[in-house]
């Protein structure tokens, strides 16, 4: 069954979009990432104009993170105080990112910047996660606990910077400076790449601040909810590229997928899924690397004008 998208201006198979968003929603629920980093390139691959893909995925990510936020709120696995610090830093980063985005667009090198960022970012993060997941699996196989215990008294220097704040729910007593800095970087990357940034925020909070993973996922989803709600509104007002029909389709598939992902996170072996996420992120990076390094069969491309109704 095909449905015509009023803003993207092309018909699309309903079942395919539902299946696609369901699969991405599953991953999103499982790992507490928005899933935008997978959904946006997939939609562009389906011929949806990039501007429409980025803006509509923002709406989808807002909706699906809403489900996650409510679930984690009920389970008291969401640190609102930490979330507020992340949101304020994220807003600053988003503004800087949009400025950078527009500068690169004016210079005509936006596509290169996006491709290069995807390649480096996804290779580094995917590689780190793969290393960590493999190490954890090996430890399990050797009969040791998967994660190293948090050792008291051993704090990295950045946690001891001025403006220390106690985040009770995260069990964290730490300076707000590095946390806000991390949020600024993620807001910046998010605005440039059109992704929520959860896939950077989650490992960032775990590795740099040693916050329990259960709280990290809920808090990360809260930050994504706020920034993506703002992003959707901004896109709708400034460039009219939010496709409400596509957004609903993505949401229906996404929220259902996220529910199953959320349950799988509780019931299944998360260690092997961490490995899968690492491989997934690496393969997205690889896909962009291929585009960059392999001689194109068609060196020319035509940029069709943005819709003018």
């Amino acid at each position: 069954m095909q449905i015509y998208l009023p803003i993207a201006e092309l018909p699309i198979s309903v079942l395919m979009v539902l299946g696609l968003s369901g699969a991405v929603g599953f991953i999103s629920g499982l790992f507490g990432v928005g899933g935008g980093f997978l959904l946006t390139p997939l939609l562009i691959f389906l011929d949806i104009p990039p501007a429409v893909a980025v803006a509509t995925v923002a709406a989808q990510v807002a909706g699906s993170s809403m489900t996650g936020v409510l679930t984690y709120l009920r389970r008291r696995a969401l640190d609102l105080k930490l979330g507020s610090v992340l949101v304020s830093g994220g807003i600053l980063g988003t503004v800087l990112g949009v400025l950078f985005f527009n500068t690169m667009k004016r210079l005509g090198q936006l596509e290169l910047v996006i491709t290069l960022s995807y390649v480096t970012l996804f290779s580094i993060i995917g590689g780190l996660m793969l290393y960590d997941a493999l190490r954890a699996m090996l430890r399990v196989r050797a009969g040791k606990p998967a994660r190293l215990k948090r050792r008291g008294g051993m704090h990295p220097w950045w946690m001891g910077l001025p403006f220390r704040v106690r985040f009770y729910r995260s069990g964290l007593y730490c300076s707000v400076i590095p946390i806000a800095l991390l949020a600024v970087i993620i807001g910046f990357i998010g605005a440039v790449l059109g992704v929520g940034g959860g896939f950077i925020l989650v490992p960032g909070l775990i590795y740099f601040f040693r916050i329990p993973p259960a709280v990290v996922v809920g808090t990360s989803l809260f930050q994504i909810l706020v920034t993506m709600t703002g992003a959707t509104l901004l896109h709708a007002v400034t460039n009219q590229s939010v496709d409400i029909v596509l957004a609903v389709l993505l949401l229906v598939g996404g929220v259902i997928g996220a529910q199953f992902g959320g349950r799988a996170a509780r019931n299944l072996n998360v260690e092997s899924f961490r490995l899968l996420l690492a491989l997934l992120i690496l393969s997205v990076g690889l896909r962009f690397a291929i585009e960059l390094f392999i001689p194109p069969s068609e060196p020319f491309s035509v940029v069709l004008p943005e819709s003018s109704r």
Binding site: Q2, I3, Y4, P6, I7, E9, L10, P11, D47, A59, Q60, A62, G63, S64, S65, M66, T67, L70, T71, R74, R75, G108, Q109, E111, L112, T229, T232, L233, H235, A236, V237, Q240, V242, I244, V245, A247, V248, L251, V252, V255, I256, A258, Q259, E291, L292, F293, I294, P295, P296, E298, P299, F300, S301, V302, V303, L304, P305, S307, S308, R309
Partner: protein
């Protein structure tokens, strides 16, 4: 006064001469409007035409040939070329085509090469490669410009937005013909012109132009115009809908 008389006489002769020679081309579209609704997956129109002759029309040694050219709305198109920079391939050169149709389909009853010489086709702007040829000849253009234009046509053909059907026009009788025009779902909204030219022995005999439009209708139209005219409300509605669906899912699937 004498001059005027000569002019009138010349005009009269010219009129009778042309009256005695030329065929008239009559054309009609099966529809003048394509409406995009939520189940739209592209559409097909048919151009019908009649070559009208009367007792005074001269006999032709060559058969009639019909060429139909459909042009969509004109927009600015950008063609980019990827080049090697060190180990990576990036877009380096680009060329703008400021006033180019986003849709261009040509149909004829037999291959254009059989109807006329290459030079005539270029001069008369007949065929996919010539229809949007800029003023002047190819010789005037630098090879770069030609490469970019060829690539534009090639890529647009791959997207089905450009095309040439060398047997797309069918003569139903010696004078009546029809030509189907396929409009893919990705064809832009706007007004389209249809140019029909009658040829015989490589000489144009008559021309006719008609048009049709592709518009969004019903809910598609309301959503699209809402996104522009009430951008803030549209954005708020989308966000609220998204959050509502997210909340709904957490209620429906709640287990604990």
């Amino acid at each position: 006064m004498r001059r005027l008389a000569i002019l009138l006489a010349a005009l009269a002769i010219g009129l009778t001469v042309s009256d005695a020679r030329a065929e008239t081309l009559i054309a009609a579209m099966s529809s003048h409007q394509i409406q995009i609704t939520s189940n739209y997956t592209g559409s097909q129109l048919t151009v019908f035409g009649l070559v009208e002759r009367d007792g005074r029309t001269v006999a032709r040694g060559d058969p009639y040939d019909i060429i139909v050219t459909v042009r969509g709305p004109r927009r600015m198109l950008l063609v980019r070329e990827k080049e090697r920079l060190g180990p990576i391939w990036i877009n380096r050169t680009q060329r703008r085509f400021p006033d180019n149709p986003v849709f261009l389909h040509v149909a004829s009853n037999r291959p254009i090469a059989e109807m006329m010489s290459n030079e005539t086709a270029q001069r008369e702007r007949i065929g996919l490669a010539n229809a949007e040829r800029p003023a002047g000849t190819w010789v005037d253009l630098d090879p770069g410009a030609r490469r970019f234009r060829d690539s534009l046509v090639r890529i647009m053909q791959a997207k089905d937005l450009y095309g040439y059907e060398e047997r797309g026009v069918t003569f139903l009788s010696s004078a009546l013909f029809s030509a189907p025009v396929d409009i893919p779902a990705t064809a832009p909204t706007g007004s389209y012109t249809v140019d029909i030219v009658l040829y015989s022995g490589g000489v144009p005999l008559a021309r006719q132009q008609t048009n049709f439009e592709v518009i969004k209708s019903g809910i598609e139209q309301r959503l699209a115009s809402g996104a522009y005219d009430w951008a803030v409300l549209y954005g708020l509605a989308t966000v609220l809908l998204a959050l509502f669906l997210g909340w709904g899912a957490s209620v429906i699937f709640r287990r604990d």
